[in-house]
């Protein structure tokens, strides 16, 4: 769709559209919005690798594709390796990769495909220093197979294999800090982002494009289907995740931490704010909520310290 010039000028994010109507995501899907922003930031000269996850389906069945960019569908655990291979081939064949005018090689994988089964390939990718961008869209469970827990599922959440019930069998571990594992590789650029803050996300994508070497972005992407939340609340929930410091937005660049949101000067909103609207948290007891709250604040303090010391 052609956007008139005068409208384009008023938009704070690129008006170009490379993600088309007709995709098969659920209503209110945060992941599909994220994918749309990535395409806006990078445009058509992009090669995507997408492993098994909701996005495999979102793009559409053969012979259709909602993505106006080249896309290689791959096995669940291989995103890091495949984008590494693509990048190596482009280099061997003399193409410019990354940078303003280079080809963008983008891995787009879910939290399961990143935090769990794909962690090894991610690690290999980071450590070898390929010029590509890995984006983990975090909807906090295996949604494609019907809402099972992943390493990124938070404490107290209902999923189909942590179903709550009489014996209170809910997720008992805190969310795996994938970004910390990534940073431990001393990558040039790593950041968290949220679909509630597209300008921030696109700025980070552009930064990742410019900085040579492997970049990693963990994108918070609500999933109304899996979270048992109203389809019109996805953006609000994503914003509350940031405002409660449940999912703070920050950047790690060449050894330095920078917190973008929430403000470090103010107390974050209470975690209940984020838990509301979400059926997946409805089995939590008061004590459970307190455990989660303490964890969030503890992690927030840690991050603030890091930003203070390595800012």
């Amino acid at each position: 769709m052609e956007i008139p010039e005068n409208v384009k000028k008023r938009l704070s994010i690129p008006g170009d559209e490379h993600f088309y109507a007709g995709h098969t995501a659920c209503q209110g899907c945060g992941a599909s919005l994220g994918l749309r922003y990535v395409l806006k930031a990078y445009g058509r000269k992009t090669i995507f690798a997408i492993p098994a996850c909701c996005s495999t389906i979102i793009a559409g069945p053969w012979p259709y594709s909602a993505l106006d960019a080249n896309l290689f569908h791959t096995a669940f655990e291989t995103t890091g390796a495949v984008i590494g291979g693509i990048e190596a081939a482009l280099k061997a064949r003399g193409f410019k990769v990354k940078g303003e005018d280079g080809i963008m090689v983008v891995g787009w994988a879910g939290d399961g495909g990143t935090a769990d089964i794909g962690l090894q390939a991610l690690s290999g990718f980071l450590e070898r220093g390929h010029d590509a961008v890995y984006i983990m869209y975090d909807n906090e469970a295996y949604m494609n197979t019907g809402i099972q827990r992943s390493g990124s599922t938070p404490y107290g959440a209902w999923t189909t294999n942590t179903p709550g019930g009489k014996r209170h069998f809910l997720e008992k571990r805190h969310k795996k800090k994938v970004i910390d594992i990534v940073i431990a590789h001393e990558v040039p650029y790593a950041a968290t982002a949220s679909i509630a803050y597209p300008e921030d996300f696109i700025r980070k994508l552009k930064k990742a494009q410019k900085i040579p070497g492997p970049s990693f972005i963990q994108l918070f992407a609500p999933c109304p289907t899996g979270w048992r939340s109203p389809t019109d609340k996805s953006i609000e929930l994503a914003r509350l995740a940031v405002q409660t410091a449940y999912f703070p937005l920050f950047e790690y660049e060449n050894g330095k931490y920078k917190i973008n949101m929430p403000s470090t000067k103010k107390e974050p909103k209470p975690i209940e704010e984020f838990l509301k609207y979400q059926g997946r948290f409805k089995y939590m007891t008061k004590e459970d909520i307190e455990v989660l709250q303490q964890w969030v604040l503890h992690e927030w303090e840690k991050l603030k310290k890091l930003a203070e010391i390595f800012g």
Binding site: W62, A69, T74, A81, G84, G85, A88, L90
Partner: protein, 396 residues
């Protein structure tokens, strides 16, 4: 065409593979160590370090699974790619082998046949590669180091013509680490034989974006499979042509998928694959001197399977002794099953017996072949089998 003057080098099977990779001007190599494959990727690294190859991206991956995944990404992005592995490594790649053939990517790999654990064993056994039978990969079994070198060069040409991946298979230590004279082909002549890859599709085409490997609904999946089978059938013709061309250019003819050795007037033949068949050919010479009318049938290409050539052979012999250095538990040797199956609906019905030999690197010698020949002769005279599957070396 420049005149062909071979360059003779004394190399191991693994180095023969590495030289072939160099001469094929491979662009991306994914590397992960496993004995006895490791010296292939080490030698390639050495070529790069010494400046002997250009434009070769070496990706030292963190596992075999990622090695194949990286090869697949690189091949989809248009490059000529290679990797090598053995046994456990190949098993770990299994899922991705399907991905390569399903996406129709001409990746070439060397598998150094090694026995599967447990118990741990680093010695020769074909079960690792044969267990990948249904992955849609072509499989070439090399008898000696020369065939490893020639096999890799031909594999690229064949794979890139039919858009299917190919595996060149050599035996652990017997070839991988044993030095022998290999006639190598001068670079410019390899270049004539194997020009740069022209990909069927290529992720660097941004004019008209496309996707590979999307969801295939029941309305289409079936046809995707059929096309792989068609490509396998076509591969038989291409193998014939490329093998013939190789013979015309370089003097070693590979036009037959089953190499026949002294089978013309044979009463019965020994059939098998890989380095085993070097021993068998030698034994055939000895046995011929001793009055046996025997020959050898070396199956070079296991996938696609040379049904037609097998039929031609089977029509003219009374018996086939199938030597399997592999086993499918609950059944029998894998080549035996395949060969019997291929002949079932034909008029050729030689007596066929399966000898399980050399598992996990157990020695297999000329005198073993002689014993098998005595047994086969008795069976043919009697007109019936003693046992169908004979665990030949078993300590009883």
């Amino acid at each position: 065409m420049a005149e062909y003057k071979p360059i003779r080098k004394v190399v191991s099977g693994n180095y023969a593979a590495a030289y072939a990779v160099k001469h094929a001007r491979v662009e991306v190599v994914a590397a992960y160590p496993i004995t006895p494959q490791t010296s292939i990727i080490e030698k390639i690294a050495e070529f790069i370090a010494n400046g002997e190859v250009e434009n070769l991206e070496y990706v030292p991956v963190e596992s075999e699974h990622s090695a194949m995944a990286a090869c697949i990404g690189a091949s989809a992005a248009g490059a000529r790619v290679f990797t090598a592995t053995s046994a456990q490594g190949l098993a770990l790649m299994h899922e991705m082998l399907h991905w390569a053939s399903g996406a129709r990517l001409p990746v070439v790999m060397v598998d150094v046949n090694r026995a599967m654990a447990p118990p741990w064993s680093v010695w020769d056994d074909q079960t690792d590669s044969l267990a990948q039978r249904d992955t849609g990969w072509m499989q070439f079994y090399a008898e000696n180091n020369q065939e490893v070198y020639d096999g890799v060069l031909m594999a690229f040409k064949i794979a890139e013509t039919v858009n299917l991946p190919a595996m060149v298979i050599e035996s652990a230590f017997i070839l991988s680490h044993t030095y022998d004279v290999v006639e190598m082909i001068p670079q410019e002549l390899v270049d004539e034989f194997l020009p740069p890859r022209k990909p069927l599709y290529d992720l660097t085409n941004f004019e008209r974006p496309f996707s590979i490997g999307a969801l295939g609904t029941p309305a289409d999946y079936y046809e995707f499979r059929y096309k792989i089978q068609r490509a396998m059938e076509k591969a038989k013709e291409v193998i014939h042509e490329v093998g013939k061309e190789f013979g015309e250019r370089f003097g070693r003819d590979y036009s037959q998928m089953i190499e026949l050795y002294r089978t013309e007037d044979a009463d019965f033949v020994f059939m098998g694959m890989g380095s085993l068949m070097g021993t068998v050919k030698q034994a055939v010479d000895v046995l011929r001197d001793e009055g046996y009318k025997v020959g050898a049938a070396k199956v070079r290409w296991f996938r696609p399977f040379p049904k037609e050539e097998l039929y031609e052979l089977a029509k003219n012999v009374e018996g086939i002794a199938v030597l399997d250095r592999n086993y499918s538990f609950g059944m029998e040797g894998i080549l035996f099953t395949e060969a019997k199956g291929a002949l079932y609906n034909t008029n050729a019905k030689p007596i066929m017996k399966n000898y399980i030999v050399g598992l996990g690197g157990r020695d297999f010698t000329v005198s073993d072949v002689r014993k098998i020949a005595e047994n086969m002769r008795a069976i043919i005279e009697k007109g019936e089998l003693d046992v169908e599957v004979d665990w030949y070396h078993l300590k009883r």
